[in-house]
């Protein structure tokens, strides 16, 4: 979330799409209700189903699964054509005025410029700004070819990757035909209400009503009102997930809603600490704090730093903080935290202890690579990979081929018992050579530590009671395994033992590191006395760092994760703070726990003010420019360079080299195009009405094992199926909790009355849903809440499956379910940017079982 | 037709055989229990009765069973006496003269058979009353199983059950009064089974004639 949970109460307009917060985040959803109750905010829900959220909405629109970009693109078109955008915001806080490279081509035929059909990738060098400064009012003269960086192959070296221009061309009249704004207008002019209706199934009149209502916050140039967009994995879990979210972000930039109380683009994350896991780089392509992972071509630390540290790219008369400029400090401090004294300037801060990554090792690839024999051993700690899928059968088949599996869990789960999953005979079981260890771990109430919520708050929790039985703390298990491995390497030697032997592990109890001690390490400390040049605050060697501004690239600081720096300072554990006061009434709660970065609660909050630094809405003052003190002050921590005068025209989006928000995502930021384009889901019910010749995302990834099959309507798979959670259950966890089992005892499949009628199905009948990959059997819930839709002139049915059941659980063990997994159905196909699988929107057929 | 078998030694007449007596007393015991517990549920001022009988929970538990027993004995009475309880012309005359009966001028009464019209009324009153009490009692026994859309059954029952009970209480009081206080010998008749010849002649002259062979209104 750019904003926070409580902040939602400040909004005037909610667009909830790709998420069902009433179902999945009920306690956060209260703030949406508060906005309705206290501000008469309007709530628009766009979803394939009439959900619990829809039940309290002012307007509901049933959308075809996987057609979100078309809908949002239609909204962008509406905003531009009806002059509902925030002009000043757009000019100054986004790259609308920037002029794009002449070689860039919009995807009228489904492809952007630079597509290479052989490798199925884009050469993105044309997706760039033009060099050249102020072109305002000189649109007609802008014909000349911009100075292109021709990739001159010299000395056998690969061409230097294209970079953003230092002084991009821009046109403040927004009239330049290659200005981002004009390209944007052109791109989405194709997303007419009629086209929206064809693709999404939302009738034109209804779409126009929604568009008018949502964009009404900018009616007649008003800048006081604010609208928010709230989404969740209903957007993420598509092969077009990232681009959908980008479309929403662009819409919010157009409307000037980003950075403001009650605005923003708000991802509601699905679990207690996957925001933290992302921050901490529990994913292959990052290091903690969103540092990019090194690639083999980074032959040394310097090359690595040069590649990942962006240079400012902004009109010369503007300023850009370009905060990633500090990347070297973050990277060195991280390596110092990892390897301590073993990381020295001489050995490049132990840079080569880090593995180098030049290919995709993401979730679906783990299973694919295990299936193909590359991955031989796997740890699954609180992670039920078989049930989570996609394509559960493939994951089970992959585990059969693994040598060993170590599961750390609190309940018996599907993954640890894959070898006796339904359908495996006793003979077959004996042939499965995988050794499986199942280790009893501690439940949440038995552990302390911090979770990071969707609003980026790190909150310390306390252990309430001892573990039952012979359970152990997760960190103790990992520490013990690691220390034993280290012992083995010490004793026996082996392949490249250095990173193992030299990993900093100076915890008071090495076998069971205290998490408070670990949090201190993550926060970081200084090895040398230091002084802040402005405030003259002094730090002594060995003291905790007060914030990431103190980080150094000379090895005198260590910090496990720079964005968490400031969480555990000399003042103590700030994540455990419990002062709930909120003097501004905006729900900022500055002294409750700790919010990264630097305790800022609303990101990009500089954008809540006009150019002069005055809040757009005086009633919702977050930060502002204090002329007397010559600095930015406010109720929130300014997400900005505190002393940057408004006249300097520093962009509010300080993490972008441009300093402004990106309507156009240049270069390789996005794999499949600088502007989002609607492509059909991998399993598509229709051809893409925009360009039938290019129905799918040309760079979306599929897999090739025998378990990877993709269905089409021609094969009889003509019903769109989506999967989701219920509020009564939590993933594959609460099927072990009798209270939740009582609330919803059995798996079911939601389907429209018309479809049920057609198939002769009545509510409560057992039905079988099949995709080309597998089947799912459960009872039918026949409902009015999903209606048949007309998609591109064709009557289309959608069904929905809550996915909470498997083959181990209270109901499962009592024989009350069919022990099938919803993810037997889902395909292993991933978004090309975030590598998230397409759990939503695949094709199935349905019959009475 | 005479029924000399009714005449037993010592000049007495057998009025109720053992089965009849047993049935009567089973019904009486059941009814008294039903009455006591019922009254306890009827009025807070009498709730102590339930406590005295072992607690209100026990009373609530046994009341329906007692009701079944009562009904069974009434049914048995029906089997035994239904024929004899048929309404006759004499009964009509009896009712016309009931004021003499109630003022102890029995000599002005038309002759009654084995059961006079009042007794017949008592019998039928209890018979139909117990059916009503049974039906409504079953509803009240298991109110939780009466579906919501049939709740009118409960509503009727809570009214009919006590109303019927009150009706039977009225009958019961008169019955008790007659048996214990008004008609000397009646009580003994349901204990020992016999009455004196004089009793039979005085209160049930027609019956008397019948058994001694001076039948005026033959019975089958």
């Amino acid at each position: 979330m750019t904003n926070g949970w409580v902040d939602i109460k400040n909004t005037d307009m909610l667009l909830i799409m790709g998420g069902n917060p009433a179902e999945n985040h009920p306690c956060g959803f209260k703030w949406a209700i508060e906005a309705k109750r206290n501000r008469n905010a309007k709530m628009i829900v766009v979803d394939p189903r009439f959900t619990r959220t829809a039940s309290v909405a002012d307007m509901f629109c049933q959308l075809r699964v996987g057609a979100d970009i078309a809908f949002l693109g239609g909204l962008i078109n509406y905003v531009i054509e009806n002059n509902r955008f925030a002009k000043d915001y757009l000019l100054n806080y986004t790259n609308a005025a920037f002029v794009v490279n002449d070689g860039f081509k919009l995807p009228e035929d489904g492809l952007y410029s630079g597509f290479d059909p052989a490798s199925q990738t884009y050469d993105k060098s044309t997706w760039n700004y033009e060099e050249g400064g102020d072109l305002s009012g000189k649109a007609s003269s802008a014909k000349a070819d911009p100075p292109q960086r021709k990739a001159a192959a010299s000395g056998g070296k690969p061409p230097a990757p294209p970079r953003l221009p230092e002084n991009p061309a821009y046109d403040l009249t927004l009239e330049h035909p290659r200005s981002v704004f004009q390209l944007l207008r052109k791109q989405y002019s194709r997303y007419t209400p009629e086209m929206v209706e064809r693709i999404t199934g939302v009738p034109k009149e209804q779409f126009l009503k929604v568009a008018d209502l949502f964009t009404s916050v900018r009616k007649d140039g008003d800048m006081q009102k604010v609208g928010t967009i709230i989404y969740a994995v209903g957007w993420t879990q598509h092969s077009s997930g990232t681009q959908t979210i980008r479309t929403a972000a662009m819409l919010q930039l157009l409307l000037g809603n980003v950075g403001r109380a009650g605005g923003g683009v708000n991802a509601l994350r699905g679990h207690s600490n996957i925001q933290g896991a992302t921050d901490m780089a529990g994913i292959f392509d990052n290091l903690p704090g969103y540092l990019k992972v090194p690639v083999p071509a980074d032959t040394d630390f310097k090359a690595y730093i040069e590649r990942i540290t962006p240079k400012p790219s902004k009109p010369r008369v503007w300023d850009s903080f370009n905060y990633w400029w500090n990347t070297p400090k973050f990277a060195v401090s991280f390596l110092k935290a990892m390897y301590g004294d073993a990381a020295t300037q001489q050995n490049d801060w132990a840079f080569h202890y880090l593995p180098k990554v030049d290919r995709n090792y993401s979730w679906t690839y783990i299973w694919d690579n295990m299936y193909n024999g590359v991955v031989k051993g796997i740890f699954a700690f609180g992670m039920n990979g078989v049930a989570i899928g996609p394509d559960s059968k493939k994951n089970i088949d992959a585990l059969k081929k693994a040598d060993w599996l170590v599961v750390g869990e609190i309940y018996p789960d599907e993954t640890s018992e894959f070898w006796r999953s339904p359908g495996i005979s006793a003979d077959e079981m004996k042939k499965i050579q995988t050794t499986v260890y199942r280790l009893p771990c501690a439940g949440f109430a038995e552990k302390d530590g911090t979770f990071t919520n969707s609003a980026r708050w790190l909150q310390w929790k306390n252990a309430a009671l001892p573990m039952p039985g012979d359970c152990r703390l997760d960190q103790a298990i990992v520490a013990e395994i690691f220390l034993q491995v280290r012992e083995l390497y010490k004793k026996e030697g082996g392949k490249f033992p250095d990173p193992i032997l030299k990993l900093a592990w100076g915890y008071t109890d090495p076998l069971n590191p205290s998490l408070a001690e670990v949090l201190k390490e993550i926060n970081g400390k200084t090895f040398a006395d230091a002084e802040d040049p402005v405030t003259k605050v002094q730090l002594k060697a060995g003291q905790q760092l007060p914030g990431f501004a103190w980080l150094k690239d000379d090895g005198s600081t260590a910090c496990g994760n720079w964005i968490y720096c400031g969480a555990f300072t000399e003042a103590g554990n700030l994540t455990a703070r419990r002062d709930s006061s909120d003097p501004s009434g905006l729900g900022i709660h500055q002294n409750w726990a700790f919010s990264w970065p630097a305790n800022r609660r609303v990101l990009y909050n500089r954008a809540s003010c006009d150019l002069q630094g005055r809040p757009w809405d005086p009633a919702r003052r977050q930060v502002w420019w204090n002329q007397a003190a010559a600095k930015w002050v406010g109720h929130d921590v300014p997400d900005f360079k505190a002393d940057s005068k408004p006249n300097d025209h520093m962009g509010p989006f300080i993490m972008n080299p441009e300093g402004v928000g990106r309507l156009f995502a240049p270069l390789g930021v996005i794999a499949d195009g600088p502007f989002p384009e609607h492509y059909e889901p991998t399993e598509n019910p229709i051809e893409n009405p925009l360009h039938p010749g290019q129905t799918h995302n040309p760079v979306a990834r599929r897999f090739k094992t025998p378990d990877d099959k993709y269905g089409t309507p021609k094969d009889g798979y003509d019903i769109i199926c989506t999967t989701y959670r219920l509020t009564e259950h939590y993933h594959y966890w609460t099927k072990n909790n009798p209270m939740n089992v009582q609330l919803v005892p059995e798996p079911f499949i939601e389907m429209p009355e018309e479809l049920a009628q057609e198939k002769g199905i009545r509510g409560g009948d057992t039905v079988k849903v099949s995709s080309i990959r597998g089947t799912y059997i459960a009872k039918a819930m026949v409902t009015k809440r999903i209606k048949p839709m007309i998609i591109d002139g064709k009557k289309t049915f959608q069904i929905g499956i809550p996915f909470h059941w498997g083959y181990r659980g209270i109901a499962e063990d009592e024989g009350k379910t069919q022990k099938t997994l919803a993810n037997n159905l889902s395909p292993a196909v991933i978004d090309p940017n975030a590598y998230t699988p397409e759990f939503k929107g695949f094709l199935v057929k349905i019959e009475k079982a | 037709m005479s029924h000399p078998e009714h005449i037993i030694p010592h000049g007495r007449v057998l009025r109720y055989n053992l089965r009849e007596r047993l049935t009567h007393w089973v019904a009486a015991a059941a009814y008294i229990y039903l009455l006591s517990t019922g009254l306890a549920f009827w009025s807070p001022w009498l709730f102590w009765v339930a406590a005295a009988l072992g607690g209100a929970q026990v009373s609530r538990m046994l009341h329906p069973w007692a009701g079944l027993i009562f009904f069974a004995s009434v049914w048995n009475m029906y089997v035994m006496w239904a024929q004899q309880m048929k309404y006759t012309d004499d009964d009509r005359k009896w009712w016309k003269a009931v004021k003499y009966y109630s003022t102890n001028q029995d000599d002005k009464m038309p002759p009654a058979g084995r059961y006079n019209a009042g007794q017949k009324f008592l019998f039928w009153g209890f018979f139909w009353g117990s059916i009503a009490l049974l039906v409504t009692g079953v509803v009240l026994w298991f109110p939780e199983y009466i579906p919501w859309n049939l709740r009118f059954l409960r509503y009727l029952s809570v009214l009919i059950h006590p109303a019927t009970a009150l009706f039977t209480i009225g009958l019961f009081m008169i019955h008790l009064y007659m048996g214990l206080f008004a008609e000397r010998g009646a009580f003994g008749s349901v204990i020992r089974g016999d009455v004196s010849m004089a009793f039979a002649r005085r209160y049930h002259p027609a019956w008397y004639k019948e058994i001694v062979g001076e039948s005026s209104s033959p019975r089958k």
């Binding site: 879990q237 990892m338 699954a380 070898w419 042939k431 995988t434 109430a445 530590g449 039985g469 968490y564 | -």
Partner: protein
């Protein structure tokens, strides 16, 4: 509420007449309050482990942390001070008591041997030692120091780590440290899916 006061109130609210009859005490108690089950329970502030709203929860356990008591959870409810949930919980948060106190919890380490058809018990020491040996063996057999172009890669593709959604930041950090030190690149988390 202390017991003495409660008794007093019970008496105070007991109704009138009911004298002893035939030896029965006929006095019904008219306000039999169930004692507040958390009156003297111990409170621990925690965070709900389910979604990302991060509702504050208070875990009530019996005992006052005295040495001779094993705490047992008796109730979990929302933390009214928490700015986001303000004491509210969803049906999952409200059922946390049964998540903590759950007869389905795994209580001892188990192993399923190759070809095995059931779980076998294993001691912690054995399990850790076997796992460590497998990790080392797998790593030694498959560690890649340089790629085809001669670039240093120092990576281990044959071991994967899949982390859960409820792992704390600190645990995740230790995972990153240990796994990256081993060279693990198949490092993923619920965050992806």
């Amino acid at each position: 509420m202390n017991p003495a006061r409660r008794d007093f109130l019970k008496l105070a609210t007991v109704g009138g007449a009911a004298a002893a009859l035939f030896g029965f005490d006929l006095k019904p108690a008219y306000a039999q309050l169930r004692a507040l089950k958390i009156a003297r329970a111990n409170e621990t502030r925690s965070t709900c482990p389910y979604c990302s709203v991060s509702c504050g929860v208070i875990i009530y356990t019996i005992g006052d942390r005295a040495k001779n008591v094993t705490p047992q959870v008796v109730h979990v409810e929302g933390d009214p001070d928490h700015p986001i949930n303000r004491g509210t919980l969803c049906p999952k948060g409200a059922s946390l008591e049964q998540d903590i106190l759950n007869e389905r919890r795994l209580l001892k380490p188990q192993v399923r041997r190759p070809g095995g058809t059931d779980w076998e018990d294993i001691s912690w020491d054995e399990a850790i030692s076997e796992i460590a040996q497998k990790v080392k063996k797998t790593r030694d057999e498959t560690f890649i120091e340089t790629d085809a172009t001669g670039h240093t890669v120092n990576r281990l593709e044959s071991i994967a780590w899949t982390g859960g959604c409820t792992d704390t930041n600190e645990f995740n950090y230790l995972v990153v440290k240990t796994m990256r030190a081993l060279g693990v690149v198949h490092l993923e988390n619920q965050a992806r899916v």
